[in-house]
């Protein structure tokens, strides 16, 4: 019983903390983000197993975590409201070439990060070539570039 409770408790708490600290926490793998991911993993590991290193405990904990994941994803397909609570909604951060500054601040996104996404996926040189940009639920940024053939909107 202990194994299942520990797995459940850690899943809920870690999810809660990450969900409420904003999605940029783990999205881009800078050295800073990488260190954080590593350390959070290490911090939860000992708690999940306690001082029980049996195969039984290990299997039960993994089973608990996967089961919670399956239940949550099933619930989020069945109920739209639940999916929003779980993962949030995508947020438009550049609309028709205009940067929505207030939203950038709220989500702690910098212009440089938008430029990075634009360069990476579309070979875009500057912000004038960015039509729309969305901060996705995953924490990544997706960019719609201005069409190269002129006369488009």
């Amino acid at each position: 019983m202990d194994s299942v409770l520990r797995g459940l408790a850690m899943y809920v708490f870690v999810w809660l903390i990450l969900r409420l600290t904003g999605r940029r926490t783990f999205a881009q793998m800078t050295a800073f983000d990488f260190v954080l991911l590593l350390i959070v993993g290490e911090a939860t590991q000992q708690t999940l197993l306690g001082d029980d290193f049996s195969v039984t405990n290990g299997v039960l904990v993994v089973l608990t975590l996967v089961a919670v994941d399956v239940v949550l994803s099933k619930l989020s397909t069945m109920w739209k409201g639940f999916d929003r609570i779980l993962d949030g909604l995508p947020i438009l951060i550049v609309k028709d070439g205009h940067i929505l500054k207030e939203r950038l601040e709220k989500e702690r996104v910098t212009e440089e990060e938008i430029l990075h996404a634009a360069r990476e996926w579309h070979g875009v040189e500057n912000l004038d070539q960015v039509k729309h940009a969305v901060l996705d639920q995953s924490g990544g940024i997706s960019v719609v570039p201005v069409r190269r053939d002129a006369g488009e909107e």
């Binding site: 409420l20 600290t21 306690g50 929003r84 909604l89 995508p90 438009l92 709220k106």
Partner: protein, 165 residues
Amino acid sequence: MVGYVEGTRLQLTEDEAFQRRDWMAQRVAWVVFFLVLLAALLGLFGSGPLSTGSRRSAGAQIDYERFARNGRPMTLTITLDSTPGDSVIIDMSDDYLAAAPLERTEPEARAQAAGEGARRFEFPLAGEDGGKVVFHFDPRSVGLAKGWIAVNGGEPVSFSTFFYP
């Protein structure tokens, strides 16, 4: 059906009301997180200035933990004002020992016996001015645990520890 962003051809699920609530929830969460961290620094989750408590009984001071954590070693220290003899008798309640099993004591007990609802320990004393006995526990419970201690058959002093999971 995913709607369109006003004035564009971009299809995106948007919900202003939801987003505003979400951002508010994040702000509230941040306040709570910092309060939790502050409480932790002060020792409200164990190991800090506010977590150690003191009681006095029959010429001895008992320093115990008000807040502790399941699975984390914990100590209780009895400091005698003076050492009239070469040994001291300490009674510790069984309930408390059940919640926080004893791992070892400093010094080792010369003798142990079961009493009424308590365990009686006899410790040898070094013989200088005032002696010290330290109980090292390995807590195995969650929630509030009440206990009492009597030194040299004196008035039992009660105390309690809250064990976090």
